[in-house]
C-alpha cells in the first residue's frame, strides 16, 4: 500500500496502483491519472466508459471485464482498446479510481 497525491488530494493506492477507497476519486484526479497513462485529453467517450465503470463498481462490487464493457457500455471492444490502449478493463479501472476488476478465474 502507498499514498499518492493527485489534483491536491492524498489518496491510498494498493500495490498494483489501484485505488483502495473509490470515494476519494474526483474528475480532476482522473484527468491527472489519464495524463500519467499517456492520455492527453479525456474525450466524452472516455468519460462514458469511466462513469459506467464506477456505476458498475458501486452496484456490483467489482468493475466490469472488457467483454462485459463491450456488451453494456455502448462502446465496442475495438473502440475500448483505442481509448485505453494498455488494456481497457485495467487501465480504465485505474483512471476511474476503482479496484482491479475480478474478471479472470
Amino acid at each position: 500500500m502507498s499514498t499518492a497525491t493527485y489534483a491536491g488530494v492524498s489518496v491510498e493506492l494498493n500495490d498494483e496502483g489501484f485505488f483502495v477507497d473509490p470515494t476519494q476519486w474526483t474528475k480532476d484526479i482522473a484527468v491527472e491519472l489519464a495524463k500519467a497513462d499517456d492520455i492527453d485529453e479525456l474525450t466524452p467517450q472516455h468519460w462514458t466508459v469511466l462513469e459506467f465503470m464506477r456505476k458498475e463498481y458501486f452496484e456490483k462490487g467489482t468493475g466490469p471485464t472488457v467483454r462485459v464493457l463491450g456488451k453494456t457500455s455502448g462502446v465496442s471492444v475495438k473502440d475500448l482498446y483505442l481509448l485505453f490502449p494498455k488494456g481497457p478493463a485495467k487501465m480504465a479501472a485505474r483512471i476511474a479510481g476503482i479496484p482491479k476488476p475480478k474478471g479472470c478465474i
Binding site: 466490469p64 467483454r67 462485459v68 471492444v77 475495438k78 482498446y81 474478471g103 478465474i105
Partner: protein
C-alpha cells in the same frame, strides 16, 4: 400433495443432483409430500467432456465418450427432451420450446456454458474447421484429429480468447499432448507450438502458474501472455491471430478456445442471468440471486470457481443438502468452499494433479492425504488416475455415490504451503 423439482440440463450437474435427490426422497418424504423430479434437456446425448481433449490425438473416439442422458438417470426421474424457451420466475414456471409448461416448487439451473463463436471476428470465417479449429465440441475435436494427422510441420497455435472457459487447464494439456504427439511421429523439430493466453501467466493461480510455465519451457512450447484476440485472419497463406493491441501471432494451424456464455434461454428469462447469461448465484449456498426457490450448479453459475466437472461434483453435495433444507423449510446451512480438483495431462504417460478452493491456491504435496497422489508434480500415477476417472464418472459420480476420502470440502492434510 406433490412437490415438483425441475432440473434444467442433463449434464454432469443436472444428472448427479437429480440422482442424489431421488435417492433421498425415495426414503424420506418432504412434509408428508411426495417429490417428483423432472430433468429437461434438448437432446439425449450425455458427453463425457474431459474426453474431448483426447479425440484430436486419436486417444478417444466419439462413441466412447457419449451415452444416452436418460440412461444415467435413476428410475422414477422423468426425462423431458426439449429445448427451453424461458423461465418465468414470477409464475414459478418453465416454458419449453415444445410448448409444454412445467410448474415447479424448486428449480435447478444446470444448463452449463456454451461456446460463443460469434463473439470473435473471423473465427468461423474462411479456414474454419480447415486450418482453424476448436476441440471444445465434438465436430471440432473430430476434425482436428484429421488435421493433426495430416500436419507435417509449421506453426501450431493454441489460443484462449477470453476467460472464463470450461476446464482452464485443458488448453495447456492440449499443448503438452501435441508436444508428445509430434515427438511420437518423429516431427517435433518441425513443429513450433505456441500458447497464446489473455492471462498474465500460464494459469490463473500463482504457484501452479509458475510450475506450468516451467513445464511449457521444458517442452519447448512458446508462451504469449496478455494476448486479447481481436480477430482470426485466415486467407490463403495469410494466417494470424490479431490482438486488440495490434500484436500478431502467425499460424499454420490454430486451435482456438472460443469465449463462453450461459445458455440462450437464460437471456430470454427476465431477472435470471447476467450480461453473459450466467446466473448470479451465492458462492456458498448455490441459491441464485433471482429467487429463493431457484438454485444453480456448475458452469451455468457466475461463482468464482473454475468451470470444471470436479467443481460441479463437489457443489452437488452441497446443493442437494440445501434443496432438501429449502423444501423442509429449514435454513440453508451447507456451504461450498470452492473445492476443485483437476488432473493435468502432460504427455508421455504422465499427469499432474492440482487441488484447490476459493482461498487456497493449488499447492504441492499429496492428495487426499500425505500418502496419496502427488500434487503439482508429474507422475504416471496421476495419468492412470485421469484414465480411471472416466469409469468413476459414469459409475460413481453421475449415479451420486459417495466416495470415501473425496468429499466436497478441500482436504488440507498432505498440502505443503509455500
Amino acid at each position: 400433495m406433490t412437490k415438483q423439482i425441475v432440473i434444467l440440463g442433463g449434464g454432469t450437474g443436472g444428472t448427479l443432483v437429480a440422482n442424489r435427490l431421488h435417492k433421498h426422497f425415495k426414503h424420506h418424504r418432504a412434509d408428508h409430500d411426495t417429490v417428483q423430479i423432472i430433468v429437461v434437456d434438448r437432446d439425449d446425448h450425455h458427453m463425457y467432456q474431459p474426453g474431448l481433449l483426447f479425440v484430436p490425438f486419436g486417444l478417444a473416439q466419439h462413441s466412447e465418450i457419449v451415452r444416452p442422458r436418460r440412461a444415467q438417470l435413476h428410475n422414477g426421474i422423468e426425462f423431458v427432451e426439449s429445448g427451453i424457451d424461458r423461465v418465468e420466475k414470477d409464475r414459478d414456471t418453465v416454458v419449453l420450446e415444445n410448448g409444454r409448461e412445467l410448474a415447479y416448487d424448486v428449480l435447478v439451473v444446470a444448463t452449463g456454458a456454451q461456446l460463443a463463436f460469434d463473439e470473435t471476428e473471423g473465427l468461423t470465417g474462411p479456414g474454419w474447421n480447415e486450418q482453424v479449429f476448436t476441440f471444445y465440441d465434438i465436430i471440432g475435436a473430430t476434425g482436428l484429429e484429421a488435421a493433426l494427422a495430416e500436419f507435417e510441420g509449421g506453426k501450431l497455435v493454441v489460443n484462449v480468447v477470453d476467460m472464463p472457459i470450461k476446464c482452464p487447464v485443458a488448453p495447456l494439456e492440449f499443448c503438452f499432448l501435441a508436444d508428445w504427439y509430434f515427438t511420437e511421429r518423429g516431427i517435433r523439430d518441425k513443429v513450433e507450438i505456441t500458447y497464446a493466453t489473455p492471462l498474465d501467466g500460464a494459469f490463473t493461480k500463482p504457484v501452479a502458474s509458475a510450475a506450468l510455465s516451467e513445464l511449457l519451457e521444458e517442452k519447448g512450447i512458446h508462451l504469449v501472455t496478455e494476448f486479447n484476440t481481436g480477430e482470426v485472419v485466415c486467407n490463403g497463406d495469410d494466417r494470424k491471430l490479431v490482438g486488440y493491441d495490434g500484436r500478431e501471432v502467425p499460424f499454420d494451424l490454430a486451435v482456438v478456445i472460443p469465449m463462453h456464455s450461459g445458455a440462450d434461454y437464460v437471456g430470454r428469462s427476465e431477472g435470471l442471468g447476467d450480461e453473459l447469461n450466467f446466473v448470479p448465484t451465492n458462492k456458498s449456498t448455490l441459491q441464485t440471486d433471482a429467487k429463493p426457490n431457484i438454485f444453480a450448479i456448475g458452469d451455468a453459475t457466475n461463482v468464482p470457481a473454475s468451470k470444471a466437472g470436479s467443481v460441479t461434483h463437489f457443489e452437488g453435495e452441497v446443493l442437494v443438502d440445501n434443496i432438501i433444507r429449502f423444501i423442509e423449510h429449514r435454513d440453508l446451512q451447507s456451504t461450498y468452499d470452492g473445492h476443485a480438483n483437476c488432473f493435468i495431462e502432460t504427455g508421455f504417460g504422465k499427469a499432474l494433479l492440482i487441488d484447490f478452493n476459493y482461498t487456497t491456491e493449488p499447492l504441492p504435496g499429496h492428495f487426499p492425504t500425505k500418502v496419496g497422489m502427488p500434487l503439482l508434480k508429474e507422475s504416471r500415477m496421476n495419468h492412470l488416475g485421469k484414465l480411471m476417472f472416466q469409469w468413476f464418472y459414469w459409475h460413481a459420480l453421475l449415479p451420486g455415490r459417495d466416495v470415501p476420502g473425496i468429499g466436497a470440502d478441500m482436504p488440507e492434510h498432505g498440502k505443503e504451503h509455500v
